[in-house]
């Protein structure tokens, strides 16, 4: 199996399942937010009223403990130059007004090298048999370390409850051979669920067709094993730079610098020891 992570598939032996994920094809997203609603319903995620934001149709802000799917709306004064719009199913085009409207449903990336999972001191965050990243709510003690560790800003604490929550890729549904609630609800199949290998193949064909249709800005995001997080279980087809969608262009799992981090801490500890010896034994008095 490809796209191996630290704990999957090895630690599962014969019980390992194929790695499952999401391919979010933002080119066909119509911004209906069915995914946000379906996710909240299925996972019983608490309601949160955020009011009117003034940010296009996005009144729900960002991914956090109480929002595991989040639809973004970007209005760009830029007409699209695409040849066969209808036949390619590109829904983000508004004819005539020169406005390009990008919509994208964001989610936890279920990273191959997941910083949140690396830093969790309780083992609450773990890698499932499907290769996804899930928080065990009966183990998390709300230490908050995963929150600033995630390079995508996915995790946060639920205030009244003290623990962190995020997308589980519907772990409970996966165990029953059902697709995640958001993917099932998505009317355009902008959210596609499946085996990561199949999704990646599908995404390559989709990208090739977008490019052939003249959509030169189409690009895959987190679809390769050699990026800073080792590729992701949830990856995207975008129509502009990632930062336009509020996504980091070159996210890196901090674990890559862990040797340097520990070397510095050890060297500083030794230096402190030397300083103490010098202070105690180094005097004339």
């Amino acid at each position: 199996m490809s796209h191996e992570t630290l704990a999957w598939p090895d630690s599962y032996g014969d019980k390992a399942k194929p790695r499952m994920g999401f391919f979010t094809d933002t080119t066909v997203c119509i911004g209906c937010k069915a995914c946000e609603v379906a996710c909240k319903e299925w996972n019983q995620v608490p309601m949160e009223i955020e009011g009117f934001s003034g940010k296009s149709y996005d009144n729900s802000g960002d991914l956090h403990a109480n929002r595991w799917r989040h639809v973004k709306f970007i209005e760009e004064a830029r007409p699209q130059n695409v040849l066969h719009v209808d036949s390619e199913g590109l829904a983000t085009y508004q004819e005539g007004d020169g406005l390009r409207w990008l919509m994208a449903s964001d989610v936890c990336k279920h990273c191959t090298d997941a910083a949140c999972l690396d830093v969790c001191p309780t083992g609450a965050l773990f890698r499932t048999e499907f290769g996804t990243v899930v928080v065990q709510e009966d183990v998390c003690n709300g230490c908050g370390y995963c929150v600033p560790a995630c390079p995508f800003g996915v995790l946060s604490k639920r205030e009244d409850d003290g623990r962190v929550w995020k997308c589980t890729l519907c772990y409970d549904r996966l165990k029953d051979d059902k697709e995640p609630a958001c993917a099932q609800a998505c009317p355009t199949n902008s959210i596609q669920y499946g085996q990561l290998d199949d999704l990646r193949e599908r995404a390559e064909h989709r990208l090739a067709r977008m490019r052939a249709a003249g959509q030169d800005e189409a690009r895959l995001y987190l679809a390769d094993d050699d990026d800073g997080v080792g590729g992701a279980g949830a990856f995207f087809l975008l129509l502009d730079e990632p930062e336009v969608y509020g996504l980091p262009p070159d996210p890196v799992d901090a674990r890559r610098d862990l040797p340097k981090v520990w070397t510095a801490a050890a060297a500083a500890a030794v230096t402190l020891g030397a300083g103490l010896v010098a202070a105690v034994f180094g005097g004339r008095e």
């Binding site: 690396d118 830093v119 001191p121 309780t122 083992g123 609450a124 183990v139 003690n141 709300g142 230490c143 908050g144 929150v147 600033p148 560790a149 995630c150 390079p151 995508f152 800003g153 946060s156 604490k157 003290g162 962190v164 697709e179 099932q184 199949n189 669920y193 499946g194 390559e204 989709r206 090739a208 067709r209 490019r211 690009r219 995001y221 390769d224 050699d226 800073g228 990632p242 930062e243 336009v244 996504l247 980091p248 262009p249 070159d250 996210p251 901090a254 610098d257 862990l258 981090v261 520990w262 510095a264 801490a265 060297a267 500083a268 500890a269 402190l272 020891g273 300083g275 010098a278 105690v280």
Partner: protein, 321 residues
């Protein structure tokens, strides 16, 4: 950062959810760790007056540290879940074990120094407390730098030295304040040496931060930094000038140095919030990394197939899966 390269200026990463207890703990942990080392070495040298007081500050720091940590947790009753695993990829996990070991060893050592209890165990506990105190003072830097917060992560080579200096100056300061001046020569050297080192390592860290150093020049981080520098400089000067003659000057100088080390931790802690809140600190360096060719980034425009299959390129339907 212009609107066009961010999503409505919203942050890309999340601010920490940590609260005031965390910078307090960085201070008390460092104070305790370096105090244990000072105590044991002073014992070896035969400075028992100094040693007993340094054991007291070590124990005091270690008694209060877990309270800070536990109170910061979202589920305080689950503190012991920290000890159900040991993970080197998590400085917080490693630190929980160091803190537990330090706490036990220092408790035994301090009890022995003051009451003579545990004579046999303390022969092991005293050096153990002194040695564990060293990483206890510096792992907190690893904890911060091993995150996605740019101003912390970019200080991964230098922050630990800044924290070690603060630990040295605060342990020296506490011992200077608690010990009659004629027994406190080593503590004065540690306090002043730590203070000088704090100023130097702070500067080294800033220089290495590039654009990220900006966050230390704004908001609460800047205020705490100014307080810290003023306290450290005046405290060290006071101890150097009058600490040998006057107990009052020693106490005042020690208090100033301690306050300076504490404010320094607050400055670093608050800088992380400023750094996480503005997407430019996250995006711009990543963009530069890609432009300089050091990284390929996370996007790819060229498909790996040249002749796309239409059935695969069409958005899938779930029942066809």
């Amino acid at each position: 950062m212009s609107r066009s390269d961010s999503y409505y200026g919203q942050p890309v990463i999340k601010e920490p959810t940590w609260t005031w207890e965390i910078p307090m703990y960085f201070f008390t942990g460092g104070l305790a760790g370096a105090s244990a080392g000072l105590a044991w070495l002073s014992e070896l040298r035969g400075d028992d007056e100094l040693a007993r007081r340094a054991w007291a500050s070590a124990l005091g720091g270690l008694a209060i540290s877990p309270l800070f940590l536990i109170s910061d947790l979202g589920k305080p009753s689950r503190f012991f879940n920290m000890l159900r695993v040991f993970k080197v990829t998590s400085p917080m996990s490693v630190g929980s074990w160091i803190l537990s070991g330090s706490g036990l060893a220092t408790g035994v050592a301090a009890a022995n120094a003051w009451t003579g209890m545990f004579p046999r165990t303390s022969r092991v506990a005293r050096p153990a407390a002194a040695v564990l105190g060293l990483p206890l003072s510096t792992y907190t830097a690893a904890l911060l730098t091993n995150t996605a917060v740019p101003v912390w992560h970019e200080a991964r080579g230098s922050l630990a030295f800044f924290f070690a200096s603060g630990a040295a100056s605060s342990a020296g300061a506490a011992a200077v304040a608690l010990t009659p001046p004629k027994y406190a020569a080593a503590a004065r050297r540690l306090a002043i040496g730590g203070a000088v080192s704090e100023a130097v390592t702070n500067e080294v860290m800033r220089r290495g931060l590039g654009m990220h150093a900006e966050v230390y020049k704004a908001g609460p981080s800047h205020v705490f930094d100014n307080i810290s520098r003023a306290c450290v400089a005046s405290g060290a000067a006071l101890i150097a000038a009058r600490g040998r003659q006057s107990r009052a000057a020693a106490i005042a100088g020690g208090a100033l140095l301690g306050a300076g080390a504490l404010a320094a931790r607050w400055s670093v802690y608050k800088a992380g919030f400023g750094s996480a809140a503005d997407p430019k600190y996250v995006v711009a360096p990543q963009r530069e990394r890609i432009e300089r060719g050091e990284s390929r980034g996370a996007t790819r425009r060229d498909a790996k197939v040249s002749a796309p299959r239409r059935d695969l390129a069409t958005p899938a339907t779930s029942d066809g899966r």
